[in-house]
Amino acid sequence: MTEKKSLKVSVYGPMVFLILGLSTIIFPLYMTVMIAFKQPSEMTNSISGILSLPKTWSLSNFREAMVVTDFWRSLGNSLLITAVTVALSLALHSLMGYALGRNKAHSKFYSFVYLFIVSGMFVPFAILMMPLAKQTAELHLANWAGVIILYVVFYMPMNILLYSGYLVNIPIALEEAARVDGASTWTTYWKIIFPIMKPMHATVAVLTALAVWNDVMTPLVIMAGSGKNTLPLAQLNFQSQFGTNYNLAFASYLLSLIPILIFYVICQKQILNGVVNGAVK
């Protein structure tokens, strides 16, 4: 009898706790949706005025927010920067991870390069940002292309660590067999090694995409004078224009969250796996 009771507690206890905890996640999102759909006149000073359902579900706030923040262009910039960064990361970081991973055990040069790049993980952006702002301006890279180059460099330490770690599990015999058949190292890499590293590509793609998509600081420092925005940068730059029209502001917040929410709903499993792999390895 007591055993049954304690079993019940051990099942329902966590369940109740989890459902209560979930409210702390849902509440800010609920608040965002409610305010985004309301008109300023509905926002009386009491909480119920803010949190009740809107009288009519109108999209007018969203239409206006799209114009104010130049939503489609910012979205396009964000998509472009994220997609190109991820593609370059998969190509360049995996190549570098391969070259370093295969040689660092027996070559002083490669093991030095490996340590040199991986220790770049400890360099905070704070120390790089002022010199980089100068340097990108000098090189005429104070634009989205410069931002992409910087991302490829910033995420290199982490991604190389991941790739060369994964490479340990891939037997070198595979490459030797291909070499006997007369394939060059370059061909062997793209035909055999690159496809085998697919699980690691997924991890790297997820981690890089999330980090790039949500990053504010790099575009803020590098692209500030270019008149172009990424999605987060547009929020920052137009924040003052919303004034006290919180409905417009929240419509804009919600708009900027929607793309990543859609991505999360579709690829939730890959994202969770990717994040765990990246952290634990």
């Binding site: 800010p28 570098m96 070259a99 390069v113 002022m130 100068k134 180059i149 420092v221 987060p232 990543i260």
Partner: protein
């Protein structure tokens, strides 16, 4: 054939290494060089030796920002790790709709910190004071009081970071084999005892990962400050990154803040290395 292999490796390594040096090592060195000048960010400048470094240690605003940043990092790390461990234990127990809960609890982590900050800014400014007023308490926003504004930043940082740490703890808990609990149960290890003597020692590597991740991320906090307080009120929530950005990029303190950034960099390396040393020694004891 051997030559082809070595040549290919070199042809891969050298251009990518050059790219890395160009946009990571060189700016780092330039940052160190600027730290010995009185550069304003434009115009001419001259060498000032180590004066920036001496000034750093007597600058009240800089000292305050370090105190705030470390206070934030330590408090948030503790809050986040305690809550994530509890959540991970709950999410790893025998519950229904496990994957739904896991997916939902991870959601905050994928959202952009800046927009999350703006949403919470509204919550702290309008919703929370109204609730406090209804309960007959002080109804000013916690963000407008220099004594309590940092708590708002802790809450927002934690809201997002808990998701990440929980997922890592869950993958740690999954590495604990079921028979450890069964054997422990025979020896009377249940509940808190089970956690203290069995579960926790076995997931220490994951605890170390979370500590390193948390401390490093929170020391570099920027977006949340930008969205919630912009360093205010009365400069009570200026993180080191925010101060370097604000005064270095547009405040004419390029040289001085470069020195600040160099000190910050050395501190981050020291903290990370110390944490890893400590984690390794803990793991060896097991």
């Amino acid at each position: 054939m051997k030559n082809d292999r070595q040549r290919t490796f070199l042809m891969i390594t050298i251009p990518i290494l050059a790219l890395f040096i160009c946009f990571n090592t060189i700016p780092l060195i330039r940052g160190v060089i600027y730290s010995f000048t009185n550069f304003k960010g434009f115009g001419s400048y001259s060498w000032v030796g180590i004066r920036n470094y001496i000034d750093l240690f007597s600058d009240g605003r800089v000292g305050k920002s370090y105190l705030f940043t470390f206070k934030l990092a330590i408090v948030t790390t503790i809050v986040v790790n305690v809550l994530s461990l509890v959540l991970a234990l709950a999410l790893n127990s025998k519950i229904r709709a496990k994957s739904f809960f896991r997916g939902a609890y991870f959601l905050p982590n994928i959202l952009g910190a800046l927009v999350v900050g703006y949403i919470f800014n509204y919550f702290f400014t309008y919703i929370l004071p109204a609730v406090a007023e209804m309960m007959g308490m002080n109804s000013t926003s916690i963000l407008s009081d220099p004594k309590s504004a940092w708590i708002g930043i802790v809450v927002v940082c934690a809201w997002q970071a808990i998701a990440m740490n929980t997922i890592i703890y869950i993958s740690g808990l999954q590495t604990v084999p079921e028979d450890v609990y069964e054997a422990g149960g025979l020896d009377g290890a249940t509940g808190w005892k089970q956690f203290k003597y069995l579960t926790f020692p076995l997931i220490i590597p994951f605890f170390s990962i979370n500590m390193v991740l948390c401390v490093k991320n929170f020391l570099m906090v920027f977006d949340q400050i930008m969205a919630l307080t912009k360093g205010g009120p009365a400069q009570s929530t200026e993180s080191v990154s925010y101060l370097i950005y604000n005064n270095g990029m547009s405040g004419g303190q390029f040289g001085f803040q470069s020195a600040n950034a160099v000190v910050f960099f050395i501190l981050i390396v020291c903290v990370s290395v110390a944490q890893m040393k400590f984690a390794n020694s803990k793991e060896e004891q097991l």
